[in-house]
């Protein structure tokens, strides 16, 4: 008995021992309380002699990394050109920078081949280039060339496939092996592999192509563009669909997809798996087998049911109601749904491995899209659920910004392409990645103006800067007399009385020379007179010559002998070098302002440095009867235009006006009376998407148009008399406004129409408010008020 017990006991213990010995490892893995804490982790050892280890390289070796036996830099650069064929082109090997030095970045488009019409889309691309400010008709001064042959569709099964491209381009004398050429392409390759091949030798030309794959993409040389449909608008473009920042930002569906399921062939790997994530609740993934002629041949068991489900949901409705949209590859890497999702503020979840994303050289897609991996499709739902609402909100807004800044029209896509190339030409004068990815976007930020963020009106908050504490008063004088009128003298006095005024600049836009220095009033701030400077226009404006033509200090001794051409209205928005402050107070000579009005308006402007802040206003409206845009300066409850006869704005808008807008548009404005300040308002509204700001004015300002009296056109019409006295505001325009038969007035109406046409939409935004001093007309002692004079009738 005893022995047996003993043995049982021993066996029992032995088995415990064995269990621990062999099962311990498994147990350790299973046990939830396993002690795999940081301190017990087997870290990289702290070697006892670690301080004695030798450095990876001798300091001398690091600092003297040269080898005199090497090729000289010049030889190396030359060798490089021959070593790397066109498939490995880089800007420094395949692009002739010297072509761009003399005339700057100019783009030439080949004339279209006779008898070879281009597709509608390519026609849009060409006209976008021609509408750009870089276009030139002279191939001699061109830096970049764009073919007149339609190369968009290079699928040789397609009807738009152009044959014998090779022969044609070789016959072009300018072709030069493709150097400095840019070739646009949307579709390349064909069934079954849809390879990147274009069917002709592009040589050393740059390729702007949709569905670019990272492998054939030549970084820093090619440009990936988005796939867009032939209905994509030429200019303007539809707005994004996000009109409100909902909180929480999640929509009805988490994730949606509706599209074809490829049963075979390239791209079927992903497309054939998408239905797996469909849960019928917040994830809707609908596929149809119906595509191609012989789909029924490959049909599987799912097809019939899927095809029925597919019809039950509307694609547009899904786009509107989903937080994320799956954007998988099709046969090619890019798809229309990418831009569709972007516009719909449905955050794209990209499942297209190896796709070089559109404009990735500039755009940080990580802020607007989720770049998923085709292999991890099944993880997508849980990963998307884990994305924080704040991030979703930011993603949604970024999709809208990117859509509006770079994608909503063919113009924007083409201009973005050109700007990216232009930035490569002079890296030190190019946009940083930040500029491309922050409002208002790279196209509206001119690196030729400055490369410092603080010089622009848009980034003060994001970088903790603030606008300068002083302003420049900029007075446009166009009086017919050679002498100074009373209003301008009063104006100079009032403005120079402001503590924030740094300088006064007078733009003398008259044929008659300005009065000598003695006639100008003595002011505490410097006074500069600039002679109308029509003559310097066009001469190397793009080279950044901030021409200071004919400007001299307040004590002019000799007057330059300039062949004065007729001053142009839009000259007042030339980026004069004399303007040194961020803020410009734009004035007409007959504007009447008091010092406290100026002071208050300037303080308001400092709160809204990206907007126009001013006194007299107008509002625009759509006239449904005449089907055109109109504007009124009558007293209304709204405003959308602040006249530049008395307004503060950022000096950057001078550069934007003169250098961003194409010359054609400025000429158009010069041809119309009193249109230039509307154009300025339209431009600023297009940039900011915000209305201007009206501030308190002591008394009514005259309708500025009346005072645009050029010195040459003495008989300039006065505005209709009814305009200055208060009259009934109308939501629709008052009829019979033209009774005075004012040519000027109707021209001005035409101006708005033409601007809306050029921009492709009406950028002006209305506001219902005016900013007054905090105690304005409050029933409190005048002594308490900082701006009592503003309340005087």
């Amino acid at each position: 008995m005893q022995t047996r017990k003993k043995y049982i006991f021993l066996t029992f213990l032995a088995s415990w021992l064995l269990l621990f010995l062999f099962g311990g490892d498994q147990l350790r893995r299973l046990s939830p309380f396993s002690r795999r804490k940081a301190e017990s982790r087997r870290n990289w050892p702290r070697w006892t002699d670690r301080s004695l280890l030798k450095s990876f390289a001798d300091p001398e070796e690091l600092q003297r990394d040269g080898d005199p036996s090497l090729l000289s830099p010049r030889e190396r650069r030359a060798a490089r050109l021959s070593v790397y064929g066109s498939s490995r082109c880089r800007m420094e090997t395949c692009f002739d920078f010297s072509r761009c030095e003399k005339h700057g970045f100019k783009v030439f488009t080949y004339p279209q081949e006779r008898g070879q019409p281009v597709s509608e889309t390519y026609g849009k691309i060409l006209s976008s280039v021609e509408r750009s400010r870089y276009h030139t008709a002279n191939p001699e001064e061109a830096c970049l060339f764009i073919l007149g042959i339609d190369t968009l569709d290079r699928d040789h099964l397609s009807g738009q496939y152009v044959r014998n491209v090779d022969e044609k381009i070789r016959s072009f004398p300018l072709w030069n092996g493709g150097r400095n050429h840019l070739i646009f392409n949307l579709y390349s390759g064909t069934w079954p592999d849809y390879a990147g091949d274009l069917g002709f030798d592009i040589g050393q030309a740059m390729l702007a192509k949709a569905s670019f794959d990272t492998e054939s993409f030549r970084p820093g040389f090619d440009i990936s563009i988005p796939l867009f449909s032939k209905d994509h608008p030429q200019r303007g473009g539809d707005r994004g669909w996000l009109h409100r920042d909902s909180v929480p930002p999640k929509k009805k569906y988490l994730l949606v997809f509706k599209g074809k399921r490829y049963l075979t062939g390239i791209g079927s790997g992903t497309r054939n798996a998408l239905h797996h994530i469909h849960n019928g609740k917040d994830i809707i993934s609908l596929t149809t087998c119906k595509h191609g002629k012989d789909w029924e041949k490959h049909k599987d068991t799912r097809c019939d049911k899927d095809n029925i489900d597919y019809e039950r949901f509307d694609y547009q409705e899904l786009l509107h109601n989903s937080t994320f949209c799956i954007v998988p590859r099709g046969r090619r890497l890019g798809s229309f749904r990418f831009l569709e999702a972007l516009q719909a503020a449905c955050i794209p979840v990209l499942l297209s491995d190896g796709w070089e994303l559109p404009f990735a050289e500039a755009i940080d897609w990580g802020k607007a899209a989720v770049v998923g991996s085709e292999r991890l499709l099944l993880q997508i739902p849980s990963a998307m659920r884990c994305i924080h609402p704040e991030r979703i909100l930011a993603f949604q807004q970024q999709t809208q910004f990117l859509w509006d800044a770079y994608f909503s029209s063919v113009d924007k896509i083409v201009h973005t392409t050109l700007e990216i190339i232009k930035d490569r030409l002079s890296p030190h004068r190019s946009r940083s990645r930040f500029l491309w990815n922050a409002l208002p976007g790279g196209l509206l930020v001119l690196p030729d103006f400055s490369t410092h963020l603080g010089d622009f009106p848009f980034y003060y908050l994001q970088h903790g800067y603030s606008p300068s504490k002083k302003f420049t008063a900029f007075i446009r004088a166009a009086s017919q007399a050679g002498s100074l009128s009373q209003p301008i003298l009063r104006l100079i006095q009032a403005v120079s009385g402001s503590q924030h005024c740094a300088q006064i600049v007078v733009l003398w836009s008259c044929e008659k020379p300005p009065p000598p220095s003695g006639k100008w009033p003595q002011t505490t701030v410097p006074l500069t007179i600039i002679q109308g400077r029509r003559q310097v226009r066009g001469a190397g404006r793009r080279q950044g010559s901030r021409a200071r033509a004919g400007s001299w200090s307040s004590h002019p001794t000799a007057q330059p002998n300039l062949s004065v051409l007729p001053p142009q209205l839009s000259d007042r928005f030339f980026p004069f070098e004399a303007i040194q402050t961020d803020a410009v107070l734009s004035l007409d000579e007959d504007t009447s302002l008091s010092t406290s009005e100026v002071d208050f308006a300037f303080l308001v402007w400092r709160s809204f440095p990206e907007r126009i802040v001013g006194f007299p206003t107008q509002s625009h409206f759509w006239d449904p009867e005449q089907e055109r845009w109109g504007y009124t300066s009558r007293w209304t409850n709204e405003l959308s235009i602040v006249l530049t006869a008395a307004a503060f704005y950022h000096r950057y808008y001078h550069s934007l006006f003169t250098e961003y807008l194409p010359a054609g548009l400025r000429e158009l404005v010069d041809g119309l009376a009193a249109c230039e300040d509307i154009l300025m308002n339209v431009l600023v509204a297009a940039v900011t998407k915000l209305p201007p700001i009206k501030v308190t004015q002591r008394k009514q300002h005259k309708e500025a148009a009346a005072q645009q009296a050029e010195c040459r056109d003495g008989a300039a019409g006065t505005p209709p008399s009814g305009q200055r006295s208060p009259s009934a505001p109308h939501s629709a325009p008052a009829k019979g406004k033209g009774t005075a038969g004012s040519r000027r007035f109707s021209q001005r109406q035409g101006c708005l129409d033409q601007l809306a046409d050029w921009f492709g939409y009406m950028p002006l935004v209305s506001s219902q408010l005016r900013l007054d001093p905090v105690l304005f007309k409050d029933q409190v002692s005048v002594l308490r008020k900082k701006y009592p004079s503003l309340e005087k009738p």
């Binding site: 017990k5 490892d25 990394d65 490369t451 998407k689 505001p729």
Partner: protein
């Protein structure tokens, strides 16, 4: 182990008494032995060790020279050459990384071995100081795992930082025999000095198949974008020399070149620049007549003048970084450390960490062909921008260049961001120096939208028990055309809200939310019932606002949806005597806050107030039953950087500030309390975010000489 032995002891006594005494000692002894064995076994089992290499790690104190030696047979396999077409989706096994809530990749480090060839000659230096530092940093980081089975990324301990210090073929063989090599899939190699004479390849020549390469000196032809990582060439001087940060601003020299072994052609061009521009350009070279003992690497000379290196770099605004035999140069690190703006002249060079760093903000890149124009190019850069670049350069060095640890972690983070793109670090986090991060704001509602008028606003009335006044407020507010819903937050737990039938009949839905606790923060909770963007917070005694005024307030909010738009304005002032902030409710010409007794704001700020309020402010406010409105003003101003908008003229408000605290009048104690709130919040926020403005918003035609009936908002400003 403690709890294990206790368990067996309690079981023991239950068995032992049944045995004979003479055997007892024997049994106890036996049992103790077994128990000790058990404990030992258990300890052994639980002791951390690797399944693959069981003994390497048990001893901490070891020398590098004691590591195991591995002999590589001459015919052991060599990996394929690096595959230039590799991308994450083709050569990287993402399944190893898996989806995990932390979104962190797991990195395994192979244990250190010494590799020798057949004849016992070593393949390379076992490990360099820098590579040891790098591996230590990885091992100490969150990325590290010691479990090879859970790893997503493998880092060999074979040191390939310097290609010249190793034998290429044998190193490749050593790589190929790593236990998880598998054609180099998910293996990460760090290399700083690639290539060798005469052609100096720009990527590591060691055949490495699919392994990722973190290399210092890639050209655009060898860099596999989105796969490789471009890293700096570490400068050991970073650790030796302490260059204190120098404030930005003009320096003695404009352009400085400090490299020693420049190609004569480059040197000629630099000297031409110097001849043209005189003193402002300084081209240094090695010193020819240094006395013994002075390290040549720490001195530079110009003619007979001797300069200390790298200190001299701090004397210049721009420092030239020219390519040598290799594209990546250690001098870049020294230049950044000195806060000198690097002028990088190395065509086709992939700058370090260029996948995430915006080099345009910290450097000037000039094509080699344009070297003669360097001076004029640099002259055209605005001074303010130069200062920013100087700061940025220094920040890049501090964050990503200064140590092997910084380099290792940035590299891993970049790879991590590719695998978990939805959790990636943003551009701002990578690029903004702390000073910018601190002074800048990133508005969560940055898109300029004017929300559609049609959605209207939701009025949220916080009430306790003033039913009569509440009903009046409800009736008044319901007259506002754009009201879309009314939400009453019933903050009284002791009393039920009035019955349904007693509530005023209004044209919009009215919901009553009962709260669990009488807390002021209940007013700012992001209730699901709020379906509009705009929230009108209104106290249950604000009956003096007209329908026009409220409607106008809503219209103003639509134009400024990211701001607080409210009626009574308040101001904060700096009290010079007391040296602290003071609250001001008098008639002032300025405003910096609006009271939330009547204010419009975006629902997003409810979410922020409830979940993202810094510090203990939220609880503090609830405990003190005061200042929730000041807290909201701070929060909104801090996140947007913008001022409030006060609308319409001042009215006689019935002490709007004291509504929450029943019965307390607007007396001195109250003002003192409010001032204390401001000081408290300013210290929690670490700054004073409130912005002072002198304007308020009125309708366009306010007080204009114009028929009232034609104005959109005639009934404004009546007392």
């Amino acid at each position: 182990i403690m709890c294990a032995s206790a368990k067996y002891n309690t079981r023991g006594p239950a068995l032992i008494p049944r045995m004979k005494t003479k055997h007892r000692i024997y049994y106890i002894t036996l049992f103790s032995i077994v128990l000790l064995g058990l404990i030992a076994t258990g300890m052994f089992q639980f002791w951390p060790h690797s399944i693959e290499s069981s003994s390497d790690w048990t001893v901490e104190k070891r020398s590098v020279h004691d590591v195991p030696v591995v002999k590589l047979p001459a015919d052991s396999p060599i990996p394929e050459r690096g595959d230039l077409s590799c991308r994450m989706h083709t050569c990287f096994d993402v399944y190893r990384c898996g989806f995990n809530p932390k979104n962190k990749i797991k990195v395994y480090i192979y244990s250190l071995k010494k590799y020798v060839d057949e004849y016992g000659t070593s393949v390379s230096n076992t490990i360099s100081r820098e590579y040891n530092e790098l591996l230590t940093a990885i091992s100490d980081s969150e990325f590290y795992t010691d479990d090879v089975n859970r790893a997503c990324l493998f880092v060999p301990s074979i040191d390939v930082l310097n290609q010249n210090a190793l034998r290429i073929k044998e190193t490749a063989q050593a790589l190929a025999q790593l236990s998880r090599w598998d054609r180099g899939t998910n293996h990460l190699l760090f290399n700083m000095l690639p290539g060798g004479p005469p052609d100096y390849n720009t990527a590591l020549d060691v055949p490495r198949d699919r392994a990722l390469l973190a290399g210092g000196g890639f050209s655009t032809w060898t860099y596999r974008q989105g796969y490789d990582v471009s890293i700096p060439v570490y400068s050991p001087l970073s650790g030796e020399v302490d260059l204190p940060e120098r404030g930005p601003g003009p320096r003695r020299y404009f352009i400085l070149s400090s490299q020693m072994a420049l190609h004569p052609e480059y040197r000629l061009e630099l000297e031409a620049l110097q001849a043209e521009n005189g003193e402002s350009v300084l081209v240094l070279d090695k010193c020819s007549n240094l006395s013994d003992g002075v390290p040549a690497v720490r001195k530079r000379c110009y003619k007979n003048q001797v300069f200390d290196y790298p200190q001299v770099l701090q004397e210049s605004t721009f420092c030239v970084v020219l390519r040598g035999a290799r594209l990546g140069q250690a001098v870049l690190s020294d230049v950044l450390q000195a806060g000198c703006v690097p002028v990088i002249i190395a065509d086709s060079y992939i700058l370090p960490f260029s996948e995430v760093l915006d080099w345009k903000r910290a450097s000037v890149v000039i094509p080699e062909e344009k070297m003669p124009e360097m001076y004029s190019i640099l002259q055209s850069i605005p001074q303010r921008q130069i200062e920013e670049m100087q700061r940025q350069a220094r920040w890049f060095w501090e964050a990503y260049f200064r140590s092997m640890k910084a380099i290792a972690l940035a590299t891993l983070q970049i790879i991590n961001d590719r695998i978990y793109p939805y959790a990636a670090i943003s551009y701002e986090e990578w690029n903004d120096p702390p000073a910018v991060k601190w002074s800048s704001v990133s508005n969560p509602l940055f898109l300029p939208l004017i929300p559609p008028q049609s959605q209207g606003f939701t009025a949220v009335v916080l009430t306790y028990d003033r039913v009569e006044s509440l009903f009046r407020v409800i009736t008044e507010v319901s007259k506002v055309p754009s009201l879309s819903k009314l939400l009453v937050v019933w903050n009284n737990q002791n009393k039920n809200p009035p019955e349904d039938s007693l509530w005023p009949k209004i044209r919009v839905p009215l919901k009553v939310v009962r709260t669990a606790e009488n807390k002021l923060s209940n007013r700012f909770f992001p209730y699901d019932e709020i379906e509009t963007e705009a929230v009108l917070a209104i106290d249950d005694d604000i009956i003096m606002l007209t329908s026009d005024e409220l409607q106008f307030g809503y219209e103003v909010w639509r134009e400024f949806p990211d701001r607080l738009v409210g009626y009574p304005g308040r101001l904060h002032l700096w009290d010079h005597e007391m040296n602290k902030w003071k609250y001001e409710s008098e008639w002032t010409n300025e405003v910096s806050m609006v009271l939330t007794g009547a204010a419009f704001y975006h629902k997003y700020f409810n979410y922020l107030y409830t979940y993202k309020m810094p510090g203990d402010i939220k609880n503090w406010v609830d405990a003190h039953m005061n200042c929730e409105d000041i807290a909201m003003n701070f929060l909104v101003a801090n996140v947007t950087g913008k001022s409030v908008i006060k609308v319409t003229p001042r009215k006689k408000f019935k002490c709007p500030e004291c509504t929450a605290i029943d019965g307390l009048s607007l007396d001195q104690t109250h003002m003192v309390e409010r001032s204390e709130c401001i000081n408290k919040f300013a210290s929690v926020f670490g700054t004073m975010p409130l912005k002072v403005v002198e304007h308020r918003a009125d309708p366009v035609l306010y007080k204009d000489d114009f028929p009232e009936k034609l104005k959109s908002f005639p009934n404004i400003g009546s007392l």
